[in-house]
Symmetry: D2
Subunit: 338 residues, 4 copies
C-alpha cells in the first residue's frame, strides 16, 4: 500500500502518519516528490485494518500497489531517479558511459585503458577484481590487489570505479575502493548480498539475471531499496534464449518496459549482450535510441591476450572512440547528451 | 562450393564452367559483381571430384562455403542486395517504411489509414486479407475482397501493397494484388510455400520463425533464392523466450548478425516484437539505430475496435506521424534517410 | 459455450436445441457420452443472447468454456478418446507402438525394418516419403514411390502405415497409402493443412510445434476436430530450449497436462525428443511411466548410412527389441499393456 | 589432464607421480578404482610440459579431458558414486526418497509430516529454515529455530535432515543440524558458497540452476569436488522455458545425460518441476523409469495454509503414500528398489 499525501502537507502531518503506521508494526519509506509526497507501507497491510489512515490530516488517499515491488515502482516515485557519483549523474539528461576491461590484469593495463576511455568521454572505469567464473579452474581475478590498481587508475584519470562484489562478506572491502558496486547476472537473486549492499549504501549496478523476468529483476532491486539504499541502477546485459549465434539475446524491450514500470535508471551492456565485437557498436547505438540511461562496454587494448576469454567481445580503444562519436549523434536525436 | 572467377573473365569462360558443372549433374547460380564474378554450385560437390574446375580458363579458385546457405551468404554476394518495388527501394540508403492495420476490415478503414501513413512518409501499406490465427474460431480475414480493398488503397495513395500469403495455392491469387508477399512467422518453414513464392518472383518479406535461429532463417531464405527469386527481405519480429511481460522478445542482435552473414535487406517489426503500443516508438528507433533497412508498423485509427485483438500494439496515426519525425533524426545519425 | 443436457434427454430434444442454435447462425457438435450428452456451440455465443436455451426441454444447464478450445477439451468430452486403426487402438489400455526409419530409402530397407519391429511387438511402421528439411539442398524424400514402398511393407507385415503429409494438396495422395497422417512440428500451425486433414477424415498424429505452448497445440487440434475429424493423436517430441546438449528438451510434463485438459490420446517421440541414441530407452520408459498412450521411435538397421543425418538418434533393431521387453514391465506397473 | 596408472601399480609409484606433479605447481586428486587408478591433474597442464610423466614407472598413459570438468566426469571416475548418509545410500540400487514441506513452520507441523513420510518409506525429511524468496516482503523462513525443529523431527523418526543453506557464513550453523545440505536453484552459481560447502564436507544436493546447461551444472559440482568434498548429489528440478502452463519444464533428458557424463548420483524434484500437485505422481514415476537415483517431493498435511504459496504443488500424506506404492513397481521394472 502507498499513502498519497495532499498538496501542501506539512512535515508534522507526514510524521504523524508515519508514526501511526509504525505503531501497527509496519515499516515505511517516505518519498517527497515535486508534485506529491508518497509514503510506502512495507509489510502486511492488514495490520492497518483498524487504523483509519485515510481520515488523518494531510492524507489524500491510499492506494494498493498491485506490482509486488513498491519502492521500485513508478507509482510510488513518479520522477526519474537520478544518481550522483562524484559529479557524474546516472539517470539524467546526460548518458553515463562506463568502459574498461573484463578483468583487471595489472596496473599498467588498467591505467592505460582508463586513459584511453576518459579521453573518449567515459566517466566510469569498469574492471573485475573478483570474477565469477563458470568453472573452478579458470582465472578468478586478483582480488584486493586489483582493487588497488583500480584506485590508481581513478587517481590518474578522475574516472569513477565500477567493480563487482560477489559475497556479503566482501562488501566492506570492495566498498573501500569502488564508487559503484556491480552485482553480476549470477548474483541477481543472491538475496543476502542484495541486502548487504542495500545496507552499505553506495550505488549499485544490478545486472539482470540470465533468465530473469523484468518483474523478478525489479523485485531484486526492491531488496536493495528496502534496506534503505535508493541508488540502484538496472543493467540489461542479455538473456538466455535458444539462439546460439550470439552469446546472449540483448533484450532492449526491457528499456521501455523498465522506464514505464520503474523510476530507476537503466543502462545496457552490449558487450555481454552480443558476445561479438563487431555487433557491439550497432547494439550500443540501439540501446541509446531505445532510451537507455547509459552503457557499460568492454574495452581492451590487447584483447587477444586478455585473461578471461572475453576478449572476443572487447572493443579496441580506437573502436570505442569512434563509437562514442556516433553515439553523440544518436543521443542528440533522442534529446540526450554525452 | 563457390567458384571465384578471375578479374577480366569472359562470358564465354563463365559459360564453359557453368556447362561443365551442369554436366556433373549440379545446378549453378552466377553472380556478376562489381569486383568479381562468383558461381555458386548447388548440390553435392563430390559430383565434381573428377572435374578439374580450378584449372579451367578464367577460374581464380574454388572455395567451400561452410555456412549451409550459399545464395543468401555475404561470401557469395558481397554487395548489399537492393530491391526495387515500383520505385521504392529496400536495402539502399533510404529506409523502407511500411505501415497499416493488422487486418483489412473494409474499404473505408484501409483507405483512411493509407492516407494517414502516406502523409507521414510511408511507402508501403500493410494489411492482412488471409490471417493465420491460433484458434479456428477467430476471425480469419476477408480473403480476396480484402485484397481488392488493398488495391483500392494503392490506387488512392500510390502506396505499395504488402500482404500475407498462407498456402502455395493462393500465391497466384495474392500475387495479383500484392506488390510484396509477406510470409508469416508460422510459415517460415513451410517449405512448399517458400518454393512457390520463389517460383512466382515477386519480392518476399520473410518473417523470422517464432523460435528460429538466424541460420534456420537464412536457410529458409535460401529456399526462395534457390528457386530463382533474389528478392527476399528478412523481417525480425521478435522471438519466443521465457519473458512474458512483452508479447515477444525483439532480437535486435539479429540486425548486425544478418548484415554480417548475408547481403539480404532486413527490416524490423516493433509492433509484434513488443506487443505493447507504448514500447513501439522506442524499439522502432532502436531498430533504425542498429542498422535495419526499414520498419513494418501496425497503425490503426480505432484500435480498440479492430477485429484481431492486435489493437493493443497498433499506433494511432498521430503517434505514427510523430514517430516518423523522430526516426528521421536517428536515420541521419546513422547515415540513412527516410 | 457448451450445453449440458439432462440425463434421459431424448434425441428429439437434442435435435431441437441443435436447430435453435443453428438458427442463430452458429455451428454445433454433439457428444453423446455415457454419463451425459453435451452440445458444443461453435462461434460467437453472443448470437444466442436472445435465445432462452436454458429453458428448453432436456437442457440441464449451459456453461462457458474458458479454454479457447472446446472440442479438444476434457470438459466437452469426459471419457478418453480411443482411436481404432485396422484393429489397433490408440488411447485405450494397450499402448500404441510405432517404429521405423526417419526416411523410406528403398523397398528392401523399409520391409527389412518393418519385419524387425513387428516381431518386437510394434503395430505401426513409420517412415518419411515427404521430408521437411531445414535447407533446400538436403534430401527431401522420395515422394510417391516411397509411399508405395510403405504399402509393400504393410502387405508383408500387417503393420499400419504412419507417414507425414506437408501440404493441403498432397493430403489426397498421401491418404491413398497412409493409415495415419503425421503432421510435423513445423506444420503444427499450418492452418490450411490442419483443415484439410480435418476434412479428409483419417487419424492424424499432430506433433507439438518446436516452441508451442500446450494451449496452442490443443488449439491446433481444434482446427482438425472442428472440421469433423475426431481422430487426433497428440505427439510430444521435444521443445526448443536454451539447452544444447540434447537436440530438444522432451517435455514429459505435457503428458499429465494433456491428460487433464483433453480427452485426446498423447504419444511420445523420444528419438527427436533427445536426438541421442543412448538416451532413447530411458526416455521411452519415462514416457510410459508418465502415462503416455504410445511411442513413436526411430529404428534403422544401418543408421550410419541413413539418408537424413537422423541416424544418430535411431535405435538398432536389437536395441528396439530389448527396449520393448523393458517397456512391457513399466506398462504393467502403470496398469497398461503392450 | 588425467594420468591413468597401470594395473598393479604400487602406492609408491602413485606417490612419485603425485609429487612430481605437485613440484610443477599443480594440484592432484587420486581416484583408486576397482579397475584402474586415475590421477587428475588440476590446473594449467602446460606446467607439465617439461615433465616426462608418461615415462614414469606405473604410468599407463595420460589423457586430456575435453570436458571442462574433471572430477565430476565419468572418464575420471568410472564407477557410480554411492553416498552414505547415516546408513541410507544415494546412488546405489536403492532409491533415495526425500519428502517434507516447503518450509518448516512449527515443531508440530514438521514432526507430523515426518511421521507420515517415514511410514510411507522415505529416508529423508526436507524442509526449509532459510528460504530464498523472489521478493523481500515474503516469508523468509524461521532460521535457526526451524533447524532445531528439524532436529526434533529427526530424533522422533530417524529420518535424515535435508535443508537449504544460502550463504557461506551460514554453512557452519546449518551444518550443525543438517545431514545433507541443499543448494537451491538460484545459488547453483554462487561460487563462494559452493567452495564453502566443498570445504565443510557434508553431502550436498546441488539443484540445477533455472536456466543452467548440464555442462554448467557439472562445473558447479566441480567447484565442490575440487575443494575435497566428493559427496555431491545433482538434483533436476525443472528449467525455465517459454511454456507457462507448468511452473517449470522438468528436463528428464538430464537423467540419462548426467548418467553418461558423470559418476555422481542424480535425483529429481517433480514438485518444483511441475508446480502442479496433480502432475507430481506422473513425473515422479517418469523420473524413476528414466533412471533417477531418488526423488525429493513436497508433502504437507494442510497445503492450503502453508506459509510459502508452494502448497499448490505439495502432495497430501495419503497421496504420497499411494505414490510410494506405485513407485515400488516402477523401481522393480528398472531393477531398482525402494
Amino acid at each position: 500500500m502507498v499513502i498519497i499525501m495532499q498538496n501542501g502537507v506539512t512535515e508534522e502531518q507526514i510524521e504523524q502518519v508515519v508514526q501511526r503506521t509504525h505503531a501497527a508494526g509496519l515499516k515505511t519509506q517516505t518519498n517527497v516528490g515535486e508534485q506529491c509526497t508518497v509514503i510506502a507501507v512495507i509489510g502486511d497491510k492488514t495490520a492497518l485494518s483498524d487504523t483509519p489512515i485515510e481520515s488523518m490530516a494531510g492524507v489524500a488517499r491510499t492506494m494498493p500497489i498491485s506490482a509486488p515491488y513498491k519502492l521500485a515502482s513508478r507509482q510510488f516515485h513518479e520522477e526519474n531517479t537520478v544518481i550522483s557519483v562524484n559529479g557524474a549523474k546516472i539517470g539524467g539528461k546526460q548518458l553515463a558511459m562506463m568502459a574498461g576491461p573484463c578483468a583487471v590484469e595489472n596496473t599498467e593495463q588498467i591505467v592505460r585503458i582508463a586513459k584511453h576511455v576518459v579521453k573518449s568521454g567515459a566517466q566510469f572505469i569498469r574492471g573485475g577484481a573478483f570474477k565469477p567464473r563458470t568453472g573452478p579452474y579458470s582465472f578468478q581475478g586478483y582480488g584486493e590487489p586489483a582493487l588497488e590498481m583500480l584506485a590508481t587508475a581513478r587517481e590518474e584519470t578522475g574516472l569513477r570505479v565500477v567493480t563487482e562484489v560477489m559475497t556479503p562478506q566482501e562488501v566492506g572491502l570492495v566498498g573501500k575502493y569502488a564508487d559503484v558496486f556491480q552485482l553480476g547476472t549470477r548474483n541477481m537473486q543472491n538475496f543476502p548480498l542484495l541486502r548487504e549492499v542495500g545496507r552499505h549504501g553506495k550505488p549499485v549496478i544490478l545486472k539482470r539475471g540470465l533468465s530473469s523476468t523484468i518483474e523478478e529483476w525489479l523485485l531484486a532491486a526492491e531488496y536493495i531499496l528496502s534496506e534503505g539504499n535508493p541508488d540502484v541502477i538496472l543493467c540489461e546485459r542479455g538473456i538466455r534464449t535458444y539462439e546460439t549465434h550470439t552469446r546472449n539475446t540483448l533484450d532492449l524491450n526491457a528499456v521501455p518496459a523498465v522506464k514505464e514500470l520503474s523510476h530507476l535508471p537503466i543502462i545496457v551492456d552490449p558487450s555481454h549482450g552480443t558476445g561479438i565485437r563487431s555487433y557491439v557498436p550497432a547494439m550500443a547505438k540501439a540501446a541509446v535510441a531505445a532510451g537507455a540511461d547509459g552503457l557499460i562496454i568492454e574495452v581492451h587494448h590487447d584483447p587477444d591476450n586478455s585473461m578471461t576469454g572475453d576478449g572476443v567481445q572487447s572493443l579496441f580503444p580506437d573502436q570505442f572512440n569512434q563509437l562514442m562519436q556516433s553515439l553523440r549523434q544518436i543521443a542528440t536525436a533522442v534529446d540526450r547528451e554525452i
